[in-house]
Symmetry: D2
């Protein structure tokens, strides 16, 4: 018995759910779960269905094509682990968490490689069974370095790229190659404290909460569709360093939660926002 | 144009969503939102649909009856304010919050009356425009008092009864008359600290979080289906009185949130649990 | 027996706590609680002490003066309810919450009056026992209207002014008269979504959390010292209106918490930040 | 320059803070932070002070002895990493998190060894640089097995023992040897769901929040002083397995936070509760 996920988005109209479920019923699949959402501000319909059974997925796809509007986006695929490459710099907390999960099969992904502009995380990564590529940025322009990183990424042909505290800015030449396929963790509750040193900014402003944001990366830094956010309370006794230490836990938890959502095909992108079918 | 809510629960089987949406499509309604859930542990299907349009709701109901299994529970009704009666004792925070919302049309209910075993809240209630029935319990047995309360309740024929810190225990004779129609707020994160003085219990145990639970009332005290819960952090500096004061905010927020969910027909009862279509 | 609060801030140096507690010991007071903080980034010392007993507070004050550096700020006063004036516009949730607390003695303040540029909240306020001043802004310049508001405020000589969703911008002429004496509630987790329509901004950005911020008001809009913040989770199903409705609960809770902290003399201002001795 | 932590608890009386700070001032130390708490229900005084400078700690200790009541508990020690032994069973999330932190010097402890009744975590532990003792419980009584574990523990003479999801019950013979020195993580917001399978219990009860509790272990299972707790929201869509997966993140975060607090000497035990000077 197979298990598949179906994602559909198209212009909303009457009868869509009936037509879609009609196709599924015709093929006698078992619908495990079904979620729909209509964005009334744009009149757009979104649906996620998990189903199992013995079926011909190509035939289901063709039948869906026939009942849906031509412009519909249809993704139909077996439930499977995603292939990912992780980019990091020096900080260990996010990458460590991901590697431990990976080692114990607690993440819906195969980590093909870790790439970093430092060698700090090399022994961690290799000791936990994942290839490590140290691509130094020294004496290279941003473009030159990024090109070398890209060469390594492309040899793995990943489904997703995860920026686990990768502290270098990607050019739009890079991000344009992987639309809604790059997941970043930003150490603030965006849109607060965009840019560098958010904990320093938070300290200067005297906020009482800090947070973290996982988002897809697009050409505008820190402005891609937000996948997940969480916060923690802080007090006047915490300077920027203490905030940074306290924030690490929420960073890794937020990134991990976002990865779970994306790799289980629970995240659909609606212009600059996400729809989460959780 | 009318706006209706449809709630269905029945044994799960293939094609249910297709059959249900087929009826809706036949009547050409606009489906505003659609949520489904299958409890795989009991093989039971639950669905909530909001739709609008010009339709004959009796005809839709009959058509649903025809396509669904005989044992299915079908609720189909226009979106409307619920009629409620609120029971309270002396504490003002929950009832005050409810009355303010009611006064400004910020709650999906008509408060027909407040009933209390004290007169503490009389001027508050009347000044905010709601009839107040003071039914003293003095010199009465539990059963005698409850009977008098019941007489007042029944003259209003409410859709729901809200216990806004009503500090008397209802007998099963009373609760059996209103299955899943009585909403209570309990001042702990149940099932911790069942029974009297939960803040005192929390203080004695030295917990670091306290909370509140809104639940339907059944014959077993504090054991009805949970609708909503929330918590707040506390510290060693708080004694039971300070906890009680701090807890009031979460109590009123939790009760208010539960009332919104129930009155918008977003809560379905699945044995001793709830399904929340939010 | 009297109960007093002592607040001290001054440059840090060795022996300060010993000297301060030496004065208290000399007068044989009972120290109920004691909190200190040193801001190492500015080398500034902050202390809050609650004590009770039979003592001459003038003598204690003079003795403190003698042991502390000349530039020290010393506030020594009996524990007492603060006198406040509340400014509001049309929204009822914050003002309603405050008035209910006031009616039942559940707030450490006497509300002397409510002032609004609309008459929407008049019957609520008066029915709950608080004078209401309707000062319309129609056909008046900002400065003219503010002057009329100021006249009403000044006749009450309040300790604090609370902006309970007062939707008009105060000029720096007004705010300069009440430094660290005006408490505002802003409907976002500042510094995100500064300015108008934060829920609309939050919807457009697609954030997964929204929040509220209580802060002192200074000449720079939305930039005064933050007293308290809290957030709630939201989802893609919520448009700006639903966010606004959901946000009201956190707004009123955050404002209420901030008022408790300020009126209990638990908030000290450290440049553009607060120190909270909770 | 040295940095020390001073912890004092004794019966409360007037002048204590003055006398304690008098000793510190006499030795001309720099007080970095100072926290006090009086439990008025038991009239007991608690204090934590961090100070630095050039001083004779033995002399400070003797001077403290002289000014404090005879029954006072005084702990004065240099700030230092604690030596710990970690007990685990099969689950990797807590131990993995701890080992990663340890590898990168991000925890205030030296992990001397991991002990487990299974060999599941052996390669993880050894690859991250920590000795692993596999002490199987097969064919052994509880007492026999525990005795073998104890032998391994005692050869390391740890300051603290951390139970990172160690799924075996310790006898009071064991726990009595390490009063307030064993930290456990329990996978519920205690006192809810005491005992086995808390996530199963939570699922059966239909709660809307689940949580985790870090506590010291005493002779009564799950009843030791609570150090830290946190919760997450759940929904009807989550069965016990999904709750268990979702709960792992909060388990490891709660344990990690509790370890930070304990190892930084920020936790004092007050009968069956803790005082947290954070």
């Amino acid at each position: 018995m197979k298990s598949h996920v179906l994602l559909i988005d198209c212009e909303d109209r009457k009868g869509l759910v009936n037509q879609i479920t009609g196709v599924l019923f015709k093929h006698l699949v078992n619908v495990e779960s079904n979620d729909e959402f209509v964005d009334h501000s744009t009149n757009r319909f979104f649906m996620r269905t998990e189903f199992s059974g013995n079926f011909d997925s190509g035939q289901i796809y063709d039948d869906m094509k026939n009942v849906l509007p031509e412009e519909a986006n249809i993704m139909l695929s077996g439930k499977r682990k995603k292939n990912i490459v992780v980019l990091a710099t020096k900080e260990h907390h996010c990458i460590g968490d991901i590697l431990i999960r990976h080692m114990f099969n607690d993440i819906n992904a195969n980590i093909l490689a870790v790439i970093s502009n430092h060698d700090t995380l090399k022994s961690l990564s290799e000791n936990l069974g994942v290839a490590y590529h140290y691509v130094s940025h020294e004496n290279l322009s941003r473009e030159e370095h990024e090109k070398k990183v890209l060469q390594v990424v492309e040899q793995y042909n990943p489904d997703y790229i995860v920026l686990a505290k990768y502290m270098r800015i990607l050019t739009s030449a890079f991000t344009a190659k992987f639309p809604n396929k790059i997941i970043n963790i930003h150490h603030s509750f965006l849109p607060a404290f965009i840019g560098a040193n958010p904990y320093r900014q938070a300290f200067e402003r005297g906020v009482k909460i800090i947070g973290a944001t996982a988002h897809f990366v697009n050409e505008n830094l820190d402005e891609g569709p937000i996948i997940f956010q969480d916060v923690i309370n802080i007090s006047h006794t915490m300077d920027a360093d203490k905030m940074s230490k306290a924030g690490k836990d929420v960073e890794k938890t937020v990134l991990s939660k976002a990865m779970d959502l994306v790799f289980d095909d629970r995240v659909m992108v609606n212009r600059n926002k996400t729809i989460i079918f959780n």
